[in-house]
């Protein structure tokens, strides 16, 4: 079954599953937009945008329900096997992570609205923007990896997660020191560290999606493999 994926030319699954994949990608696109808008709201102090992001989360939830039902239908009527079944499982897991990312974006949107009312620091949340862009890229890459069924791209995302975690730690520490400097800052930097936390979580969910893709393509479960062994395991043996 693996040779279905080993060639570079794009091969399609059957009609039903193709439609399902496109639906997941559409949900992914919506979530990408939500995260992007949420970060934009933080960086530009746009409370209206932040609230809109929070309001629109219902769309993400609706899509999860719809795709879930579709998956159940396919499972029941087609009784898929092997690669098709792995795809279905990957879809079900991915939409769960996407829905969680949507929730994090909602949280960030609400915090953006709150932060907009406070005085903006001179750095203008530069670090949050940087972390945000980093995380958006991870999400985008993991969804691309799913589209292309490319395990190599997926691995890069998994490796990125480490850097994101480090960036988050840095921001966290900086917030703490700023809060200690001046108690009036506490309110604001508590919010900032919540935003950073949400972003870091989004990074984790993107990593999960990449891991599902690797499982889908290679039939290997790498979820608890050490990072340095990852490349060897996935690319090394061409199965």
């Amino acid at each position: 079954m693996n040779d279905q994926f080993s060639t570079h030319i794009y091969r399609k699954f059957n009609e039903n599953l193709e439609g399902l994949r496109t639906n997941v990608m559409e949900m992914g696109g919506l979530v990408e937009k939500q995260v992007t808008d949420a970060i934009e709201a933080i960086v530009s102090g746009d409370s209206e945008l932040g609230l809109r992001v929070a309001q629109d989360d219902y769309k993400v939830n609706a899509m999860e329900v719809q795709i879930d039902e579709e998956c159940n239908r396919v499972l029941a009527t087609m009784s898929p096997a092997a690669a098709d079944l792995r795809l279905l499982i990957t879809v079900i897991k991915t939409i769960t992570d996407l829905e969680r990312i949507g929730d994090e974006a909602e949280r960030i949107g609400k915090l953006a609205a709150q932060l907009a009312t406070e005085e903006r620091p001179s750095g203008s949340y530069r670090e949050l923007r940087s972390l945000g862009e980093h995380v958006i890229e991870m999400l985008h890459d993991s969804l691309d990896a799913f589209s292309r069924l490319d395990p190599v791209d997926a691995i890069s995302v998994v490796e990125e997660d480490k850097l994101v975690d480090e960036e988050y730690d840095r921001i966290s520490r900086e917030c703490i020191s700023l809060m200690m400097e001046d108690p009036r800052n506490i309110r604001r930097f508590m919010d900032v560290s919540w935003v950073a936390r949400s972003l870091e979580r989004i990074g984790d969910h993107a990593t999960n999606i990449s891991e599902y893709v690797i499982y889908l393509v290679k039939g290997k479960d790498i979820r608890h493999t050490e990072t340095d062994q990852l490349r060897a395991q996935v690319i090394g043996n061409k199965d």
Partner: protein
């Protein structure tokens, strides 16, 4: 050549007769015929074998020799093969030309089939959209370009206007997209990077808002002092007139700044919310009252509200619309003229019009009326305190309400300004 066939048939007959004769000579005609027939068959089969073997090679020139009808057949096949090959070469050259020009094409071009599969994309598309040369062909475009605005535009089917959207994952890249259906099921998608012009637009808007805001403060100070001075009893008489003038001009500046700020707010392309229902009867009667309060207002101002249907939108913006239209009407109509305010609405839409019997507008001026600071008769409207921004404000407020402005006018007779609201903005 028909001759070849007749020769062949003749040869066939001769061979069979010869066989029969020889057979007769040796005692069995049948055996002789049979042998001759078999010989002929073998001979033809041999040539067929030669043909088959030759066809398997790619050789064009070196076709086998033969006897009888076979050389002709070989030559013909060779000719057709040659022609097909030349045709293929020409097509490939044409295709290469096309590919080169598509590569040079500065905008991103993508060809889709009816399933939205990527049939082809040029170099600019690869760079702009991050597509991979070999592996992405055949993939559905929705799987790779997932921006909700793009998907909506693609699926909507209404390609009369280009679509604009942010290209994720970047926050800064904006793209303008046109889709052109051609052929039985193909579609051409052309994407242009408009990040620069978007940035300029934002900069301009921000500048406008900031400048207006900053100018307000010193203006308030000036106005404040002018007010105080004007009310001062000990003021020498000769200063009275200059002060009044200064106050009037300062007031004009304030109105101008307010209008500029209003305009920059309205220029954002977001549509205004549909949460609030605005009652048109109340809106128009308030407009009538403020019109009457104006100095140059004509005596006859009528309001005709023919429907109880209201507008979904923002009250303050709609108020700006009608107030600006009415003020324009007042400024351009004589004392003994007439102004009418109409409201009609049904399933097809709503029409809010301001009609006047004023001096009218030249046909040439009409298309430019809603431009900022555009004035037909600069001296006249400046005297009357106009800012030149009124219609620009009306236009943008209407855009935000998904409505259109229609202007009809006859010089010397009057003008009619109609705001047409779509059904989804009525309630």
């Amino acid at each position: 050549m028909p001759n070849t066939w007749s020769v062949t048939i003749t040869r066939l007959v001769v061979a069979l007769v010869a066989g029969a004769l020889i057979g007769w000579w040796y005692g069995s005609v049948a055996a002789g015929l049979f042998a001759a027939a078999m010989g002929l068959l073998a001979w033809h089969l041999y040539h067929l074998y030669k043909l088959d073997r030759w066809l398997k090679t790619n050789d064009l020139e070196d076709f086998p020799t033969g006897l009888g009808i076979w050389p002709d057949t070989f030559a013909r096949v060779s000719f057709f093969r040659g022609r097909a090959r030349r045709r293929g070469k020409r097509l490939r050259a044409l295709l290469k030309e096309f590919r080169l020009s598509a590569s040079a094409f500065p905008d991103a071009g993508v060809i889709l089939n009816s399933d939205n599969d990527l049939l082809y994309f040029n170099k600019a598309a690869r760079e702009l959209l991050g597509l991979k040369k070999k592996s992405d062909r055949g993939q559905r475009i929705e799987n790779l370009i997932r921006v909700p605005a793009f998907l909506e535009y693609l699926r909507n089917g209404d390609f009369s206007e280009p679509g604009e959207f942010q290209l994720l994952p970047s926050l800064d890249v904006w793209v303008s997209c046109r889709i052109v259906p051609y052929g039985p099921e193909q579609r051409l998608v052309v994407l242009q990077d408009i990040s620069r012009s978007k940035r300029l637009e934002t900069m301009r808007r921000d500048f406008l808002a900031n400048a207006s805001h900053e100018l307000r403060t010193p203006l308030t100070v000036i106005t404040g002092y002018l007010d105080t001075l004007e009310g001062d009893e000990g003021l020498p008489d000769y200063m009275q007139h200059p002060l009044t003038e200064m106050n009037a001009q300062a007031a004009r500046m304030r109105t101008l700044l307010e209008d500029l700020l209003r305009l920059s707010e309205l220029e954002s392309s977001e549509l205004s919310s549909r949460e609030e229902r605005v009652d048109v009867a109340a809106l128009t009667s308030a407009a009538k009252q403020s019109a009457k309060a104006l100095e140059h207002c004509p005596d006859k101002v009528e309001v005709k509200v023919n429907s109880g249907i209201g507008i979904l939108g923002v009250h303050s913006e709609l108020q700006s619309v009608i107030s600006n239209l009415v003020v324009n009407a007042v400024n351009h109509t004589e004392r003994d003229g007439r102004i009418e305010i109409h409201w009609d609405a049904d399933d097809e839409g709503g029409r809010l019009s301001v009609v006047d019997s004023g001096i009218g507008i030249d046909e040439d001026d009409i298309p430019r009326l809603t431009e900022r600071f555009y004035r037909i008769d600069a001296g006249r409207s400046r005297d009357k305190g106009g800012t030149g921004l009124g219609l620009a404000i009306v236009k943008h407020a209407l855009i935000r309400h998904e409505a259109e402005l229609e202007i009809d006018s006859t010089p010397g007779i009057g003008s009619r300004f109609t705001c047409i609201f779509p059904p989804n903005r009525l309630a």
